[in-house]
């Protein structure tokens, strides 16, 4: 999205104007701080480490047997057979499997934490169908015991989203799954924000029951469009302000609007869409909604019917995040097939993801993936472990806009790594050791690396 760039002509013109009239005194430029609640994350203590002799799934489609993974300064340094590293701590991983850290693109940990209590139900601002002004990070309770359980299942990165009650529910935040006393100490540095949107039954049922818009799916569409029309005007006003200011004028800054700030960020491509959207016909329209207003429709979450439009999703570069087997709780979730993810994945340029939306299944995205792989292979697919691991690593990282940093075991990426006791797609698989930025954050054999929430202390 090209922002205003002063052309030579404009500069010349401004100079000319300044030349014939007394230079207008410029007030300080109003610049919106895009990062007022910055990450304070620091990697936990780590050292150079060589994980030896494992079956390695790189996340990029490769499987290397009897392979080593070298971690230096928190980054993947090398992956291959018979690596040597002076002074590295050696971890014998013979018989084990190594994968990238698991990434969940759809979690409500911290905003709908355990125990479930009114006091902590902070995930849905159900006061208006468009609440782009709320940020999930402002609701996160870092002591949610679910973060620890998820880490024990290999989750190293997760996106916390607002709920799906609203058409536009607010910003999501991507976290590193480290134990912390503040949200900001978990916040993934430089990860883009997400914006939660929701199609279908949830918004229309909630607001319809209050006799408010939206009461119908057409009301849903009207709601999104109205919001993006406002955002477009808002962006235009700021662009003009910035241009005028750059031209040496002293314009009055537009009135700040928190809701529209976020939508403007979407229009500028800085904030990525994460859209709760089950049904084929709705996803198709959401893709065109993005085109209508000049933004990309992003990732469809809970895309139960994605298999019906796999081609369309791939053509438009949309990821689809899916469950293996959730269905029947709503009519929009009726047409589940176990092979949905595999069918979306089978198309060229696809981006299929397995997500949880659950504090329970987030602990076993490897098993959720296994359900799909085996169901698909029973029905003519030929999926391999090295391929499907991408559904919960590399593709998830792509959806979150962090694939340059994590999601695969490639040299230079963050050393987010899981050592599994066996093939991670077995029901008996367990994450034995989990690393984030090269630091050990979980060890099944060592209680010193088994973090517990403050909440669980002293409970009898």
């Amino acid at each position: 999205m090209a922002k205003f760039t002063p052309s030579l002509v404009a500069v010349a013109l401004a100079t000319a104007i300044a030349g014939c009239s007394p230079a207008e005194q410029q007030d300080p430029q109003v610049i919106i701080n895009a990062n007022p609640y910055p990450s304070t994350y620091h990697a936990l203590p780590n050292s150079t480490m060589l994980l030896k002799n494992a079956t390695v799934l790189t996340g990029t489609g490769e499987r290397i047997n009897d392979a080593d993974v070298l971690i230096k300064e928190g980054k993947i340094s090398a992956v291959g057979q018979q690596l040597v590293a002076e002074g590295a701590v050696i971890v014998d991983a013979k018989g084990k499997w190594i994968t990238p850290g698991i990434i969940d693109v759809h979690s409500h940990l911290g905003v709908y934490p355990s125990p479930n209590a009114e006091s902590h139900n902070d995930g849905n601002e159900m006061t208006n169908p468009v609440t782009a002004e709320v940020w999930a990070e402002h609701s996160v309770w870092p002591q949610d015991p679910g973060f620890n359980r998820a880490r024990e299942g290999g989750i190293t990165t997760l996106q916390i989203l607002p709920g799906s009650a609203n058409l536009i529910g607010g910003r999501g935040v991507t976290l590193k799954n480290v134990p912390a006393t503040t949200m900001q100490a978990m916040k993934f540095p430089q990860a883009p924000y997400g914006l939660k949107m929701a199609c279908g039954e949830n918004p229309k049922n909630l607001y319809g029951s209050r006799n408010e818009l939206p009461m119908t799916r057409m009301g849903n569409m009207a709601g999104y469009r109205t919001a993006f029309i406002q955002a477009t005007e808002y962006k235009r006003a700021w662009d003009k302000y910035d241009a005028d200011y750059a031209a040496g004028k002293n314009p009055v800054a537009p009135e700040r609007d928190l809701m529209k700030d976020t939508l403007k960020g979407v229009l500028e491509g800085d904030i990525l869409i994460h859209n709760h959207c089950y049904k084929a016909e709705e996803m198709a329209m959401m893709i065109d909604l993005g085109k209508e207003f000049g933004y990309h429709a992003g990732t469809f979450h809970h895309a139960v019917e994605a298999y019906k439009i796999a081609d369309l999703l791939a053509e438009n570069g949309n990821c689809a995040a899916m469950w293996p087997d959730w269905w029947g709780f709503k009519l929009e979730a009726y047409d589940m097939v176990l092979e949905n993810v595999a069918m979306v994945d089978a198309v060229k340029n696809s981006c299929a993801i397995v997500h949880s939306d659950s504090g329970v299944t987030i602990q076993r995205l490897n098993q959720e993936t296994a359900k799909i792989m085996h169901a698909a292979n029973d029905n003519g697919f030929e999926l391999t472990e090295q391929h499907v691991i991408g559904w919960i690593t590399a593709n998830a990282a792509k959806s979150l806009g962090i694939s340059d940093k994590t999601g695969s075991l490639e040299a230079g990426k963050n050393a987010d790594v899981v050592i599994w006791n066996t093939n991670p797609f077995s029901v008996y698989a367990q994450a034995e050791k989990v690393f984030i930025d090269g630091a050990k954050v979980y060890d099944r054999q060592d209680p010193a690396f088994q973090a517990q929430s403050d909440f669980m202390l002293g409970q009898q």
Binding site: P115, E201, F329, V427
Partner: protein, 419 residues
């Protein structure tokens, strides 16, 4: 991605069609060369033969058998059909569609019999068969009362005669409450049992005194409670916190009841007392978050810990029935987290049967021929159901989901609606 399913599917469809026409269950079947997990003291029988006749297991490893049909299992695992419990199968088609929902009712009470709403054609049933489930204890979701209603037992044939028994147990929900005090619920249960016991003894005294007295009959409610007091019906109680479980243990002792604990997050805390009181626990083995202040002891280890302590454990996926096909994976996870493999198998077969007074759940002569032949370890994702029999009848393993998948995999020039 190479695909070959079209012909395979067509074949399997024609097989299932052939099956459905073969309703008369006269022919006997011998399953040979099976690795039979009996879920009995017999344990595992290798290269074994199981003979089915007229819906029943009639022989195991007979000297000779002249079955009409022989199926060579080629070493594959044969288990009792898995039994699901405490879910709403056949009572809910789509959770959010009120008119497709019959599991709960505001006025649900002691006498509420949800089996009258059971739909054997619900799409959840064929999908659950894919997970090796052959029978199910269905329950009401309840209403405003602590008394949620009565359980009933179905098989998963999807036939109109699949309700095997109704009003089989009384389901009660206790513990944390959104309004008021949990004490009120416990008190209601105690009073109900106490009043009914007194009324019954009064009744028997009256009967002794004057057999011809035209006193009014006991109410329907009292008759249900009488069946609970006699131990004929289990008192199935959904409860989590240890202090509540302790009350139920006492209640069992005071009234000599057949108490079953469902959920039981804190059961591990009082495992010894549960063993002494001989109270079984039906547990969701995947539940490991402290989802309320009643369930701070939820853990993936609980199923194994309880079994090791000597508690009779059943594994279930209580509540929603859409994905109970995944019961076998819960058992697998219990094993991964310390449960003995045979205990886990019993937890979805023999133990469930014992707890809910079913005749199935084991491979033994005289038992109903509810059997599943697996392609591998039934708890593993890589395994699937090869064949399933319910009361001796082979079942289709196709569901609505298979038809949807095939429709969108096999593209033509015409819209999907024509495929």
């Amino acid at each position: 991605m190479t695909r070959f399913t079209q012909s395979a599917l067509a074949m399997s469809l024609s097989i299932s069609l052939a099956l459905s026409t073969n309703v008369a269950q006269a022919e006997s079947v011998a399953i040979i060369n099976a690795t039979v997990h009996t879920a009995t003291e017999q344990g595992v029988l290798n290269n074994a033969t199981v003979v089915i006749e007229n819906g029943t297991i009639t022989a195991i490893n007979p000297q000779s058998s002249q079955a009409d049909k022989t199926i060579d299992a080629k070493g594959a695992m044969l288990t009792p059909g898995f039994i699901a419990a405490m879910n709403d199968m056949g009572l809910v088609e789509v959770g959010a569609v009120a008119t497709s929902r019959d599991a709960s009712d505001k006025e649900a009470n002691i006498t509420f019999d949800p089996s009258l709403a059971f739909n054997p054609k619900a799409t959840t049933i064929s999908f659950a068969r894919k997970g090796g489930i052959t029978r199910n204890i269905v329950t009401s979701g309840g209403g405003e009362s602590i008394f949620a209603g009565q359980t009933f037992v179905v098989d998963l044939t999807g036939e109109f005669d699949s309700v095997i028994a109704s009003n089989t147990g009384l389901f009660v929900q206790l513990g944390a409450t959104d309004e008021g005090s949990r004490a009120m619920g416990m008190q209601q249960l105690i009073y109900k049992l106490d009043d009914a016991k007194k009324a019954l003894s009064q009744e028997s005294k009256t009967q002794k005194k004057a057999k011809d007295s035209s006193d009014e009959e006991p109410s329907r409610e009292d008759r249900v409670i009488a069946a609970v007091l006699s131990g004929e019906k289990p008192l199935i109680v959904a409860v989590d916190r240890a202090s509540d479980i302790i009350h139920l243990i006492k209640l069992k002792q005071d009234y000599d009841l057949d108490v079953v604990i469902v959920n039981g997050a804190d059961a591990v805390v009082v495992a010894e007392q549960l063993v002494q009181a001989n109270i079984p626990v039906v547990i969701d083995a995947m539940r490991n978050l402290p989802d309320s202040f009643d369930s701070l002891h939820n853990s993936l280890n609980n199923a194994g810990k309880l079994a090791k302590a000597g508690v009779k454990v059943a594994i279930a996926l209580p509540g929603d029935s859409h994905s109970i096909y995944a019961l076998r994976y819960s058992a697998g996870n219990a094993v991964a987290n310390g449960m003995n493999y045979d205990d886990a198998l019993a937890a979805v077969t023999a133990n469930i049967a014992d707890i809910f007074h079913l005749d199935s759940g084991r491979i033994a002569v005289g038992k109903p021929a509810d059997l599943v032949l697996w392609s591998g370890d039934p708890f593993e994702f890589s395994s699937k159901v090869q064949k399933m029999w319910i009361a001796g009848e082979e079942q289709s393993l196709q569901s609505r989901q298979d038809e949807l998948r095939e429709r969108y995999l096999n593209k033509t020039d015409m819209p999907a609606g024509y495929r």
